[in-house]
Chain length 153, copies 2
């Protein structure tokens, strides 16, 4: 699965992660190459799926999303049908920003961004009414110390 990338590919990815709005000339200058090879490599990285999407990151608080919860979930259900329903519910809810199935004691972790505690409760009530969940612990974020999508390529 891991793509083989050389040093130039990695430099290009680092620049794109840093600022995807740069022109090809700017990137080429910084990575010590020129326009066409940089462009060809970006295209290949895109085709190979290494570059997934190009997006903008918004300021959640400026948009009124003032509360962020990490939700630890234990379930007693482990059948395929239950899991399918649970995953579909998570994928359908836009307030769920991350969802991972875990090894060990706790079965799932979610990162949920909502306007306030009341909105979280609405989300929680909706979720448990859709699928049976054994035990839920919500951790309320007081401060986002760090949040990055940049991978150290």
């Amino acid at each position: 699965m891991a793509a083989r990338l050389d040093a130039l590919d990695r430099k290009i990815l680092a620049e794109l992660q840093e600022d995807a709005g740069q022109s090809l000339d700017e990137i080429a200058g910084k990575v010590g190459s020129s326009k066409t090879p940089v462009w060809n490599r970006i295209r290949k990285l895109r085709e190979a799926g290494v570059i997934r999407r190009q997006t903008v990151l918004l300021d959640a608080e400026a948009l009124g999303f003032d509360a962020c919860f990490f939700v630890l979930i234990r379930t007693s259900e482990h059948e395929a049908a239950w899991q399918k329903a649970f995953l579909a519910a998570l994928r359908a809810r836009p307030e769920v920003q991350e969802a991972h199935r875990l090894a060990g004691d706790i079965d799932y972790i979610l990162k949920v961004r909502v306007a306030n505690a009341r909105a979280y409760d609405a989300f929680y009530q909706a979720l448990i009414s859709e699928v049976k969940i054994h035990n839920v612990t919500a951790l309320l974020s007081m401060e986002e110390i760090k949040s990055t999508t940049v991978l150290p390529v």
Copy 2:
């Protein structure tokens, strides 16, 4: 703090989050406006800090980051100096993708992306050698069910 945005602003943000590579004309067409107003609004949203950065999202597994941990941290230290050192350590480490200070029992949660369990252990050893930490629980992700940066504007 919350910026006041009208329906058109929100539609534009939704489009940009979906695909920031679209041309202004494409966005204008989809949101039912034309180029100039869309461009002006994007500029203002950028200046207001609603749009933070433009970036590419990479496939972590394609780049060899096969392990993702959520790390729950309890500390006995609550002095300013300790906290400053801890935050600096987190910010300096590129494998830390998210770090939040929490309310309640658990003090911090981290999301850490590394090549494998061995790399996580190296990170963990380095971190506890830098700052004193009372109790650490690592939750290993088996499956990334969902991961998005899109806010439901």
